[in-house]
């Protein structure tokens, strides 16, 4: 069996188990689906009046404006929650059995990443359906919408690799806050409620240098049919995936060294 085929075989097995656990345990499934929905309902429903603030000029309306944030947020947290599952597996000793059984151990990380992606597809499907039922305006073309979801995939893979790197180093669910808090921080220090131009003070300064801002602005450009920062957003997304994949590989070495 070639190296690639070996990695794929391990990844399939790990992903199948992870997805099976996710779909059959309501304690894992419900928060993953409900959290993004409640963020969306709260932001799009409760803050709809923000769309009437002087200077707020988003052609597709506030629901679409917030949909992009919640989509990217659910992408990131889909990765983080998968990191929780990985940490739990290593804490219970199941991860060590994976390490002993897998011919190509990078397939373990790839399997969790595949599971994270499938989990996110489920969440995004429900989120998108709810948003459309709620009357979200989509002005972007089919290509632009595909580009929006491609950005979300990059965010999901980057977040999974970040969380995997932590999980493989800490090998305990106690590493959960370390996976979650920086992700939460970087997401909320971006233009969440209003466009960057309407922010002022310290939050504007931080949001201006936060890479998530470019991802958000590009995503909002796609949904409104007015693409902006496309090159920058994809470059940031790919760079994040590359950097955090290296971070996860380092974690794998750490787990191997720990025995």
């Amino acid at each position: 069996m070639s190296r690639a085929a070996g990695i794929a075989a391990v990844a399939r097995a790990v992903a199948w188990r992870s997805i099976h656990n996710f779909l059959t345990n309501p304690a894992f499934l419900l928060p993953a689906v409900m959290f993004p929905l409640f963020f969306f309902i709260s932001f799009a429903g409760g803050l709809a009046a923000i769309g009437e603030v002087p200077g707020f000029d988003f052609p597709s309306g506030y629901t679409a404006f917030q949909f992009v944030f919640v989509l990217l947020q659910s992408a990131a947290f889909g990765g983080v929650f998968t990191g929780f599952a990985m940490a739990r597996d290593f804490e219970s000793g199941f991860g060590r059995r994976y390490m002993l059984a897998a011919g190509h151990r990078s397939g373990i990380v790839a399997g969790y990443a595949l599971a994270a992606l499938i989990r996110s597809f489920i969440t995004w499907g429900i989120l998108t359906a709810v948003a459309l039922i709620a009357g979200m305006n989509v002005s972007g073309s089919a290509g632009e919408i595909i580009a929006l979801y491609t950005l979300a995939i990059l965010v999901n893979v980057a977040a999974t690799m970040w969380a995997a790197g932590v999980a493989l180093r800490v090998r305990s669910i106690q590493g959960g806050p370390l996976m979650q808090f920086p992700t939460f921080l970087v997401l909320f220090l971006a233009p969440v409620y209003v466009p960057l131009d309407l922010l002022s003070g310290w939050i504007h300064a931080i949001a201006s240098i936060n890479p998530v801002t470019a991802l958000l602005e590009a995503g909002r450009g796609f949904i409104s049919g007015d693409p902006v920062l496309v090159g920058a957003a994809f470059a940031i997304g790919i760079t994040l995936v590359a950097l955090f994949t290296l971070w996860a590989k380092g974690g794998l070495r750490s787990a191997e060294a720990a025995g």
């Binding site: 409640f38 429903g45 009046a49 939050i203």
Partner: protein, 259 residues
Amino acid sequence: MSGSLSIQVGQLARRSVLRTLRQPAQIVPALVFPLFLLAVNASGLQDATELPGFPTDSYLTFVLAVPFIQGALFSVMNSGTDLARDIETGFLNRLALTPLRGAALLSGLLAGSFLLGVVQAAAYLSVGLLAGAELAAGPAGALVILALSVCITVAFGTIGLFAALRFGSGEAVQGLFPVFFVFLFLSSMALPLDLLTTDWFHAIASANPISYLLQAFRSLLIEGWNLGELALGFGIAAAIFTVGMLAATSALKTRLVRT
């Protein structure tokens, strides 16, 4: 209160307070997380004050009410998780062999929530005022804010006790966190009820008691002294406390029969 009951409550209260103080993991997130969201929301949504009918020109003042409720949500987790741990480790079984009264157990366990409530309220109010929030009711209003915050924290703590006694598992108590967050998100957390322009969201937020708890804080911060709003806030806290204690007392009886 009879002498023996006061001794029992005192002993358990001392244990609850010490246990809270010795667990920075309980205190730090309850302080840091709400303050982080306060900082982000106060800056990110400042433009909302330009909406016609917004009650103040400082969004920080408006949103300063929110951390008090978020802090109380942590009280549910902390009080419930502590009691669930006592159940899981068998400590409650040992207490059941003593002449300890149920009322003493529940009251004593709430002492940790009381302490956390005082620390949280003082921290949120101090940081808010230092950051430039207004307090229309003056220094006496600060005392009422502290009192209201502690009442709400203890009231929410009874729900944590009930959940721990009913389910007997820390994980189940932790699972309540998203449920309570939903209540917060579907309230007038981000905008006043009058400015919730989405009909269904306005209807839900109007029926949500959290909206009126927030309004009680806001009346002191923005208006001055509005006895009707305050009475409603304290009344809702008292109602939650009564229902929570009755439910916890009933669950305690069932739990002690089981063990």
